[in-house]
């Protein structure tokens, strides 16, 4: 009897087509907006046109008179039920509907529930709100200025706009290392505000049934169980009477982690009206009010030795959190995992100070396609590394090679306390440099320069902490960041798998089945995967921060192993030998020394329901909760070459090479898709994308005419490399997170390439996005182009 071919059954390493795509590409997905319930009403939100203003009065009488209107909610009404404010994921409060003031443009002021969304929208326009405008703050500098208006005057005792001051590292040790340095390289940067901008906006359908007292909410959430807990706490409903269902989700990217006012209002409206209430956000609402990302300023310094060794790193960051501190992040940390910066470099000592401020901008600070603030951490790192090499007069690749953590140093303790698990950093760099043709390009670059053409090459190398947590260090609102899987093997050997994660396009239905196939030899096509329904799924923390494969994926492996352990007992019973005499090969137990005497996993499954030994509990089902011992640390090298047109500032990508070592790849095709998607988002951030505000706090970037997503036309091609594989030493199948690496590490590669092309100008920095006018300004004026992409008005 020959063993099963793992690739053929869709196991580990099979580039199996995504099973969910069959319904997605046929238009048969089931998104929140596809759900229609009998008697369902529709909700629309009235948003503030002003960024900072006192509410003098709200007159809803005309709205109530419009036929088809069932309910008009205001902050005042919410307050009578103690729902005008809600807690955030960072231990702050956020207005559900404004009562005293509006604090950002687009803030929720009232909502209307009506027979259809057109009527609801008309009625929103009929609400008369009188505002008394207040001075507006749109950046940390203004927030910190003396006599700045206090944005959060709702919180008694608040005397400034500072949310927190936080520090990590060794201040004294860093100071003394800087004193010894041969050279100090400094860089000031801004990572502009961007938005995760999933194509599907947020939405919910709340359905409160008075007869059963049960509340069912269909909604766009990446973390249904956290939402259930939040609803229980905020709405003071018993948790067993709350069912959260995440149907298909059209992209999340961190945007669908927080709790939004629209969810809360639709729930209250359903309870009050005893009818289902649907709220579907429009694109502008999504862009101007829901969780943004980044918006953080850096003052960075590297202490360097003449020979290129980094002696110390020092950073100060000022972060702009908008009107409410609602970052989604582990509760121990104020600025996420920013201190994972420089984790791939052998830096002896470092110190980071971080200061968060309120501004009159939308709240958020979500982890947009990254572990919490890791995108900023790695962008800062790689821009500082690029500039330090220039300041030392060293080759950028060589400078990295000198400082990368060597292979024999793992597990390696970073200057800010993380323990990186494994990696072959130098090998990845070699693969990348060879693929881009590093030496040849440098020659071409010199020749081109002689002809007045500007070519540039940018490198970004990074590792990042993926897969929170372990439970000792990582929790959200006190809930430890483990995850779960439940596996039920039916008597015919087919299986149902449920996890506490929630796919938003990542392909869990495909990948999780492959892990089961790998562990049990059940063909992946025989495993159905379900997620997102809190009444059926085991408790989990959801999908974000590249944690699904490292945590839930590990739980899938562990529950499969539990199943296999029981199947072994069944096999011993069927073969009439002792368990110790059995060997396992994929999908089959056999008697040691008699390979033809065996039973398949399918036969064991049948026995679990039809022929179990005396005293054994029937059935073949189990659940595993997995608390990872550490984060997983993938490594990546991204190298970009560009040509910059000095006359226009327009730059084009010539080539891009991506070398990703994410450990064992479960479905290589899905991994490659993730990398390409991430690189495209990185390109967008570097090239065109930002949300900014004018002096009055008007959001520029409130629709897809102003907030640009790249299309196939301008997105460059990518060359992907997967030849370096360093399995995670602690993950059950050696996998590491990958969903976000390219979006995290990519932006610096593009920016470094453009900066490399214009090194001769002496310009140290152009802040993203590198729009042509900013590049042209740097070249012609020979000055840094810095700060939040300003809406410069004459």
């Amino acid at each position: 009897m020959t063993a099963l071919d793992e690739i053929k059954i869709g196991g580990l390493g099979a580039s199996r087509k995504r099973v969910e795509d069959s319904r997605f590409i046929r238009g048969r997905g089931n998104y929140t907006d596809d759900i229609v319930l009998p008697g369902m009403l529709h909700m629309e939100i009235l948003r503030s046109p002003l960024a900072h203003a006192r509410i003098v009065s709200i007159d809803t009488s005309k709205a109530w008179q419009i036929p088809g209107v069932h309910l008009v909610l205001t902050g005042e009404m919410m307050a009578t039920r103690n729902l005008a404010w809600m807690p955030t994921l960072s231990y702050d409060t956020q207005a559900v509907l404004a009562t005293d003031k509006v604090r950002f443009q687009g803030q929720e002021v009232a909502c209307v529930i009506a027979d259809d969304p057109y009527i609801a929208k008309d009625a929103c326009e009929a609400i008369e709100v009188e505002y008394e405008p207040l001075p507006v703050i749109v950046n940390p500098e203004q927030a910190l200025a003396e006599a700045a208006p206090i944005i959060r005057d709702d919180k008694t005792g608040t005397t400034s706009n500072v949310i927190f001051n936080w520090e990590v590292g060794d201040a004294a040790g860093t100071e003394s290392a800087f004193a010894r340095a041969d050279k100090i390289s400094r860089l000031r940067l801004h990572y502009p505000r961007s938005h995760p901008s999933p194509i599907e906006c947020c939405g919910s359908i709340a359905d409160f049934n008075r007869a059963t007292s049960k509340l069912t909410v269909y909604m766009t959430t990446q973390a249904p169980h956290i939402i259930r807990a939040a609803v229980a706490l905020v709405a003071e409903l018993p948790e067993h009477m709350i069912r959260i269902v995440s149907p298909d989700i059209g992209g999340g990217f961190g945007n669908k982690v927080p709790v939004y006012p629209g969810y809360v209002c639709s729930i209250l409206a359903s309870i009050l009206l005893e009818r289902p209430v649907k709220w579907i956000e429009d694109k502008t609402g999504n862009l101007i009010s829901t969780g943004f990302a980044r918006d953080i300023y850096l003052d960075g310094e590297l202490a360097l030795r003449e020979d290129g060794k980094i002696l110390a790193v020092r950073m100060h960051v000022d972060s702009d959190h908008g009107a409410f501190f609602s970052d989604a992040q582990p509760s121990k940390f104020k600025i996420g995992l920013l201190h994972s910066t420089f984790a791939c470099y052998d830096v002896p000592v470092g110190h980071i100070t971080a200061r968060g401020t309120y501004t009159n901008k939308a709240p958020g600070g979500v982890a947009y396609r990254c572990s919490f603030r890791v995108t900023e951490a790695m962008f800062f790192q790689e821009r500082m590394i690029h500039q330090a090499a220039i300041d030392l007069g060293m080759d950028a690749a060589e400078f990295r090679r000198i400082n990368l953590v060597p292979d024999d140093a793992f597990p390696y303790r970073t200057p800010f306390g993380f323990l990186t698990d494994s990696g072959q950093y130098g090998k990845c760099l070699d693969v990348g440099l060879k693929a881009i043709g590093y030496e040849d390009f440098r020659k071409q670059q010199a020749q081109a320069k002689a002809n007045g053409r500007l070519l540039g090459l940018g490198i970004s190398t990074m590792t990042e902490p993926l897969g929170a947590g372990n439970s000792r260090e990582y929790d959200i609102l006190g809930i430890k960041m483990f995850d779960s899987a439940e596996l039920k093997i039916h008597m015919t050997g087919k299986a149902l798998l449920r996890t506490g994660s929630k796919s938003q396009g990542q392909g869990h239905e495909t990948t999780w089945a492959q892990i089961v196939a790998h562990e049990l030899g059940i063909p992946a096509e025989d495993v159905v995967v379900e997620e997102g329904d809190t009444d059926t799924a085991p408790f989990g923390m959801g999908t974000y921060a590249s944690r699904s494969t490292p945590v839930a994926g590990a739980a899938v492996a562990m529950v499969s192993r539990k199943i296999r352990a029981k199947a072994r007992k069944l096999a011993a019973h069927l073969l009439e030998v002792s368990e110790e005499d059995l060997e396992w090969e994929l999908g089959r137990f056999y008697v040691r020394g008699a390979a033809d005497r065996g039973v398949t996993i399918t036969e064991c499954a049948l026995a679990a329901y039809t022929n179990m030994p005396d005293g054994m509990e029937p059935g073949l089902e189990n659940t595993a909760y997995y608390d990872p011992p550490n984060l997983t640390w993938p490594f990546a090298v991204y190298i970009v070459t560009v040509e910059v047109d000095p006359a226009t500032g327009v730059w084009d990508v010539l080539n891009m090479v991506a070398v990703d070592d994410c450990g064992v790849r479960i479905n290589p095709m899905i991994v490659e898709g993730q990398i390409m998607g991430g690189l495209t988002e990185a390109y967008a951030m570097a090239n065109m994308q930002f949300i900014t505000f004018d002096a009055e706090g008007n959001c520029v970037g409130a629709n897809y005419m102003d907030y640009l997503l790249p299309t196939a036309w301008e997105t460059p091609g990518y060359e992907l490399h997967s030849e370096v594989v360093t399995p995670s030493p602690h993950h059950p199948i050696g996998a590491k997170g990958i969903g976000e690496c390219a979006a995290v590490g990519g932006p610096a590669a593009f920016v470094n390439a453009v900066m490399d092309a214009i090194t001769d100008t002496g310009v140290r920095n152009i802040d993203m996005p590198l729009l042509p006018d900013r590049v042209w300004e740097a070249i012609t004026k020979r000055r840094d182009v810095s700060g939040a992409p300003p809406v410069r008005t004459d």
Partner: protein, 291 residues
């Protein structure tokens, strides 16, 4: 995105459409491709009470040349028709250069040149092209037909010279007297973005001498800008580095850009200058060949 309530009519003849417009007064709006109007309605920036959809009116989807070379583009001729047109490739270099740069492929499948002219967006590409070519718009109303020069048709941002009961049925590009050359360059942040800067150049030359010149600018003012001084700098002789430089300077001067999130005023002015030079002196460009 839910528009306000509106009435929708889809007439089957021009006469009926004009009657509907006449009855609808200021609150009626013609819809051809709908690629600008529908988004504006969904954002409730526009809330017309009556939409007169002319897509069922027969005989408006043409673009054709008269025997003398006059080009006529009907009100339902889509951008995509022009993008794929052999006629444009052979005889209309400025239009042929602009057609693939209009918006994105999806918009080009529905949107129309005449609709773009009527919409009069300062960032609309076709208006510059037609102005540079010295074209006109034919309007039909209860009182009959009239031709309006393109340079006078656009009266301001999002404003045109049509009476409320007139329909623009056709854009007309006059036949060239000499050999036609020219081009269109557009700086956009991404395919489908509005122009940060666009420049249209249209020339006619006879015996190596420029006999007609038109230069018009997109996105650098409150409406489409006809850079007449710039065009004048090219007239009456062959193209020379000096005349090109003079034209570029004059065009930059004619621009009235504002700094915004697409770029600084200074940069936009610089780009006008750069584009004029590039259009007039491109290696092997049609301009050079024709001259």
């Amino acid at each position: 995105m839910y528009p306000s309530r509106f009435r929708y009519e889809a007439p089957r003849s021009l006469e009926e459409a004009i009657r509907l417009l006449h009855e609808g007064g200021d609150e009626a709006k013609i819809m051809a491709g709908g690629q600008s109007l529908v988004p504006l309605m969904k954002l409730r920036f526009a809330s017309p009470e009556l939409i007169v959809d002319i897509n069922n009116v027969p005989g408006l989807d043409y673009h054709r040349a008269d025997p003398d070379g006059t080009l006529r583009v009907g009100a339902l001729c889509r951008h995509a028709d022009l993008e794929r047109s052999d006629l444009l490739k052979q005889a209309q270099p400025t239009m042929a250069a602009a057609a693939p740069l209009i918006a994105d492929p999806l918009v080009r499948n529905r949107g129309t040149l005449v609709g773009s002219l009527c919409h009069a967006d300062p960032q609309g590409d076709w208006a510059s092209v037609v102005v540079a070519l010295g074209g006109s718009v034919v309007a039909r109303g209860p009182g009959g037909r009239r031709a309006i020069p393109a340079a006078e048709f656009v009266t301001g941002p999002f404003e045109n010279a049509l009476a409320h009961d007139e329909i623009a049925v056709e854009a007309v590009i006059p036949a060239p007297v000499g050999t036609r050359s020219g081009g269109y360059l557009k700086l956009e942040r991404r395919v489908g973005d509005f122009a940060t800067v666009g420049v249209a150049v249209a020339l006619e030359t006879s015996d190596g001498s420029v006999t007609r010149a038109g230069i018009a600018l997109t996105g650098v003012g409150g409406s489409t800008i006809a850079a007449t001084q710039a065009a004048a700098a090219l007239m009456g002789g062959p193209l020379t580095p000096e005349s090109i430089e003079r034209a570029a300077e004059a065009a930059a001067e004619a621009a009235q850009p504002r700094s915004d999130h697409r770029g600084s005023a200074e940069y936009k002015r610089h780009m006008v200058r750069t584009f004029v030079v590039r259009l007039l002196s491109r290696d092997g460009a049609s301009v050079g060949k024709a001259a």
